[in-house]
């Protein structure tokens, strides 16, 4: 054996180098090892995260980074938002408005490393769905706020049911941006009867008639929650056995399901591929402008009311500016302006009167097209739901890490066989 020759062989040493670096990298590249005291202690302590003193109570700094979902604020023809522009004019705060949030989990993934390291994320206001707000509160990732002191318009103008929300008791961390309903949409051209019940979405015998024309959501919380309601279980109180039973319902339904959709269900609903589908209220409102026949119902057993909320991530640099914005959008005039454009449910019931005033103004100007559109907004139960609808709506359950994994595994078997 010739050791010196072996060492000199360039290929051999290259393999050796790759091997050594592989071992080094393998051992070094864990994803944020989880011994951060904030994350683990808060997650296990659960109920009351040590939030500390509320931020705010000071003068705005003049800068605000507001991060929201796409198409979720009013827009004029050149693409800028009148609400933002008017806020800037009134307060002198320079707003950077970005539409970077496509969905809760992947956006959370992008800011989680900074939050865990205790750094500023670069966002002063983020808009997250209720269950994610619940998770972020538990992890200690949101700044506590004092709505009585800093967001008085919320206290004065928000509907009662928004004043105490299960995922953020006492409004300690967030205020709602917009809400929406998850219910059933159906196309009377393809469906002979009136749809009123979850039986008509899940009952294996009933749906035979519409086999292959049923739409469901790939959003685990929405689909699971409707199946839970069908079984008579309140989603927020579901145990793992309840969820397993709900999975059974979804699996039995699966052979007749056309697809498990994201936002694109609206295309198939509009083009007649779906007869009965899970649906979000704001989408159906917009589809109805083209096809007034399409229907949206909150089933007798109940539907889901979800809420996207404005919150200040831990370590944000401009909390006073963020609170000024939160307070600003709770003026009924501003809430109406946003509602007229986004067509989801505003937390400010007083906005309905303002939209009606706008209808009269448009009529006085002879602009019948605008007047018709605004009448549709003001009178639609999808934008301003009736008390009867609201009484049948439930919230998502805020899931722990373990529950989320179990639910997700059960649901993936439904969606992907």
């Amino acid at each position: 054996m010739n050791d010196s020759k072996r060492a000199a062989d360039p290929r051999r040493s290259a393999f050796l180098a790759v091997g050594i670096s592989a071992v080094l990298i393998l051992s070094a590249c864990g994803i944020e090892p989880g011994d951060s005291p904030t994350a683990s202690s808060n997650a296990s302590a659960g109920a009351s995260p040590g939030g500390g003193e509320p931020v705010g109570g000071g003068e705005p700094s003049g800068v605000l980074n507001f991060t929201n979902w796409p198409l979720y604020i009013d827009q004029d023809d050149d693409g800028s938002s009148p609400t933002i522009t008017e806020f800037e004019d009134e307060t002198g705060i320079d707003v950077t408005y970005s539409e970077a949030i496509q969905d809760n989990t992947s956006f959370f993934g992008t800011i989680q490393p900074q939050l865990q390291a205790g750094q500023d994320t670069g966002h002063d206001i983020i808009v997250m769905t209720d269950w994610m707000i619940g998770n972020m509160i538990e992890l200690g990732y949101l700044e506590p706020i004092n709505v009585e002191r800093d967001v008085p318009n919320f206290v004065e103008h928000a509907a009662d049911k928004y004043q105490d929300r299960s995922y953020d008791p006492g409004n300690q961390y967030s205020v709602p941006w917009q809400s929406g309903i998850t219910g059933i949409g159906y196309n009377p051209e393809l469906v002979d009867e009136e749809i009123t019940s979850l039986d008509q979405l899940f009952d294996p015998e009933f749906i035979q008639k519409y086999c292959g024309q049923i739409g469901m959501f790939s959003e685990m919380r929405d689909s699971m929650s409707l199946a839970l309601l069908y079984n008579g279980v309140t989603p927020a109180e579901a145990t793992i056995e309840d969820v397993e039973a709900a999975q059974e319902v979804l699996l039995e339904q699966a052979e007749c399901v056309r697809g498990y959709y994201g936002n694109e269900y609206a295309d198939d609903f509009a083009n007649g591929s779906l007869a009965i589908t899970m649906a979000w209220s704001g989408d159906v409102f917009q589809l109805q402008l083209d096809n007034p026949d399409l229907q949206f119902v909150v089933p007798d057993e109940g539907g889901i009311l979800w809420t996207d909320n404005m919150a200040i991530p831990k370590g944000a640099e401009h909390p006073n500016d963020a609170l000024a914005m939160m307070n600003y959008v709770y003026q009924p005039e501003v809430a109406a302006q946003v509602a007229e454009w986004v067509n989801y449910i505003t937390a400010v019931p007083g906005a309905q009167e303002i939209v009606r005033q706008h209808v009269e103004e448009a009529e006085a100007e002879g602009d019948t097209e605008t007047a018709d559109y605004l009448t549709a907004v003001a009178e639609s139960p999808l934008v301003f739901p009736t008390d009867d609808m609201l009484s049948r709506l439930y919230s998502y359950k805020v899931l722990s890490e373990d529950e989320e994994r179990q639910w997700a595994e059960l649901f993936q078997e439904v969606v992907q066989g």
Binding site: I25, L26, C29, G30, N271
Partner: protein, 286 residues
């Protein structure tokens, strides 16, 4: 510097390899090692992942998703065969009968690439919609049953993938066929070969390197494709790419997703190895 290079001229070829080598290390070796590492970790996103060398994950993942793994390999194989059956005559015609239209015909083959992969696939969704202009019309004039549909069937998914990867098949086949000297085929017919014999014994063997390249270029991306199954399929057409995508982005179960990715890579490598054995003795490189 130049003088040093002249004295050690043996090193120059290796220097030329440096850019490519770095590229491979940064974009292939490092991601591959990361994937192996992630597969062997346990934990959650909020509390972090730790390397525990959990090799159990591989049999678990294979067991849980075997249907989708097998389906993906089947779809990949079907797509490759279909693309070859459609692409070979196309490439043959362009190479031998294209004449002065050759360049235009090649341009037409590449033309779909001027729009994005996603847009092209979404367009198929519109074309094949149950009440869309194609099926809707055929149903209205009574040729098709009202309940007939193409979307959400294996036919739609396999056709979608075949359509999307067809140019990858035509181009290497064209290159291989174009280089064949027509006089060889003339010689074969002069020696009393029929046209079929000339094709089977001269043209086809000479183009086998193109067939090899074309089938790899369609099989590998087809097996890993998830977009067509996502847009044109339903849960019964779920491919392994869809499962991995959901595990990564929705469930945030990084270890299982990474493990499945590695299983998929291994599956593809084994298939290719078998394929090379099948073509043993042929001249595969050019």
């Amino acid at each position: 510097m130049l003088g040093w290079l002249r004295r050690h001229s043996g090193i120059v070829p290796y220097l030329f390899l440096v850019p490519g080598g770095l590229w491979l290390i940064v974009f292939f070796v490092v991601p591959l090692i990361t994937t192996v590492s992630v597969a062997l970790q346990e934990g959650t996103l909020a509390t972090g992942f730790r390397l525990t060398f959990n090799f159990e994950i591989f049999p678990e993942a294979i067991d849980r998703w075997s249907t989708q793994l097998v389906r993906s390999l089947q779809y990949g194989l079907t797509v490759t065969v279909l693309a070859m059956l459609i692409g070979y005559p196309m490439a043959y015609t362009i190479a031998f009968r294209g004449g002065r239209y050759k360049n235009i015909l090649l341009l037409l083959v590449i033309m779909p690439f001027f729009t994005s992969f996603i847009i092209r696939t979404i367009s198929w969704k519109f074309i094949l919609a149950d009440q869309g202009f194609l099926l809707g019309t055929l149903k209205d004039i009574g040729i098709l049953d009202q309940g007939f549909r193409l979307l959400a069937t294996p036919v739609a998914v396999i056709s979608g993938i075949t359509y999307n990867f067809l140019p990858f098949v035509v181009l290497p086949l064209y290159v291989a066929l174009e280089r064949i000297d027509p006089r060889l085929i003339e010689a074969a017919t002069d020696l009393y070969a029929s046209r079929l014999q000339a094709f089977l014994r001269v043209t086809l063997p000479l183009s086998i390197s193109g067939v090899f390249a074309a089938s790899l270029l369609s099989f590998i991306p087809a097996v890993g494709d998830y977009l067509n199954a996502e847009l044109l399929g339903s849960r019964n057409e779920t491919m392994i790419g869809n499962v991995i995508q959901r595990l990564f982005l929705v469930n945030r179960d990084y270890p299982e997703a990474a493990a499945l990715s590695l299983v998929l890579m291994a599956g593809i490598l084994v298939s290719i190895f078998l394929y090379i054995r099948l073509l043993r003795g042929q001249e595969l490189t050019v």
